[in-house]
Structure formats: C-alpha cells, structure tokens
Amino acid sequence: MLVDFELIKRAQKGESAAFNEIVLVYRKRILGKISRLIARSEDVEDVAQEVFLRLYFSLDQLRTPEVFEPWLYRLTVNAAYDHLRKQRRRLEYRMSDLSEQQIMMADATAGGKVERDEQHKKKTREFVDSLLGEVSESDRILLMMKEVEGLSLKELEKIYDVNENALKVRLFRARQRVLKAFGSKEQ
C-alpha cells in the first residue's frame, strides 16, 4: 500500500485534500498500467482521469481500506475495458504490417541510438499489440495484468472477484491463442 488507511478514511469522509493526495501517489502507477493496457498514448490521461473520477464517487462504498488497491485496480481494469470496447478498434497503422523494406527505411531514418531504441520499442509495442488483437478486450486486459503487470493469481482473484480456477482457465486459453498467433507471425 502506498498510502495509509487514515488517508483513505479521510478521503471517504469527503476531505478533498486527502483525495488529492491519494491521486498524486497513485497517478503515475495508474497512468503506466493504462498506457500498457490500451496502447493509445493520447487517451491515457483521459482514461486515468475516468479511473480517479470513479474512485471519487465510489470511495464511500469501500468497506475496508485494506482492499483499496485491488479496488483501484478493478476500477482501472473496468475503465480500460470500457475504453477498448468503445473504440473497438486496433491500431490502424501497425509497424508489424509494414514490409521489411519499410521497416529498414524507418530504421535508417532514425539515425542516432536514441531514435533506434525508440523505433525498437515502438516495434515491440506494436507487435505485442497485434498479438493481443487475437483475443477479446477483456482477455487482453486479463493477460496484460498477469503477464506484463506481473500481478499474482491471488491479486487477480481480488480484482476480478472470481475464483482462481476460473481465472487459470481463462488465462490459459487467452495465452494459447496469443501463442498461436505468435508462432504464425514468427514463421
């Protein structure tokens, strides 16, 4: 926990300064999670604000401050899912869809090391994004929370409020689909 229970209780009582402090503490982390979940940098702040907006109006429903973090991550997952569902689109322009020649040209254009690193990161991002396009929005988020964010099954259980076995089955299926896509793209 990045904040103490007392601060959460004060925010629950409607103290704006306490809520402000919670946002400031968790903001960077939530922005990071959202940027990896939705892969659209221009929408990240908007979705993150939606998360904290939902937090503000649902904070009084939080029974115990101990479950604050899973609660916040649940709000994050739901907001990211709503965003992806609304958009219902993948990146229109993927580097992985470009020809090898175009990628080489893009690499050549990026002269310095920093630019090359950026290009490499961009390609990785877009490749993973295209793989995750093989599964539904909800499975994409679940897989990301497990594989990229590194959350444990216990933590996911709290966030999704479902039993561990159901999560395992769903994760296994989603991963198998991504693996299949990965295998076919590698060839």
């Binding site: 402000n20 946002v23 400031l24 903001r27 960077k28 982390r29 922005l31 990071g32 940027s35 990896r36 892969a39 940098s41 990240v44 702040e45 993150a48 604000q49 904290f52 907006l53 503000y56 109006f57 990161k121 961009k122 390609k123 990785t124 991002r125 490749f127 993973v128 793989l131 594989e147 990229v148 964010e149 590194g150 991963r175 991504v178 693996l179 990965f182 295998g183 590698e186």
Partner: protein, 114 residues
Amino acid sequence: MSPMRGNIEERLDALFRAYREAFPDPDASPNFMPHLWQRIEARQTFTFSLRRMAGGFVTAALALSVALGVYMAIPRSTQSYSPQSYIEALADAQPLDTPDIVGTVSLDLSDPGK
C-alpha cells in the same frame, strides 16, 4: 523480434518483458489534476441537478396522490349515477305498455269553424 532463442513460451515471456520496458510509467501532464477536479465538479453538478429534479418529481407525485385520495374520499350524490343497465334505463324512459305511438290523441274541438 529479437528474443528468438528457447521455446515459444519463453520467447513470449521475453516479449512481454520487453513490452513492459517499452512502456515505462509516464508522467502526468500539468493539467491532469485541474482537469480531474473539473470533471468531478461537473459530475457533482449534474448529479445534484438530477437529484433535485427527481425530488421535484417525487413531491409532485405525492401531491397528486393526496389530491386523488381526497377526491375519491368525498361522497358524491347518486342522482347522476344509476345502477341500472342501459336497457333498463331505456325501458323506464319509454315503457312498452304506453308507447307514444299508441297513446291517446287529444283533439281540440273548441273552435271547429276555424
């Protein structure tokens, strides 16, 4: 992609790790907090208006219910109301034993010359 060694499972894990590194936690823009509070206030205003409107509707519905209750409770005269059926009412108005067509005809014989 670069991590091509090992089995496909390991390569996928490596790819996810690379993805995690390609997306470091970004910093928020300076407008993040002001925009957030603007959105909170806008939502609060909307909720408040909605509550006021809902409260108005509830009051109006309650007043209407009371008015209807009072109206139904007031006893009214039964003159205009007949428990008879339409046929019975018609029969009462024009009894069959004395229809107009067969009734007595009164002739005025006082001034036969005119």
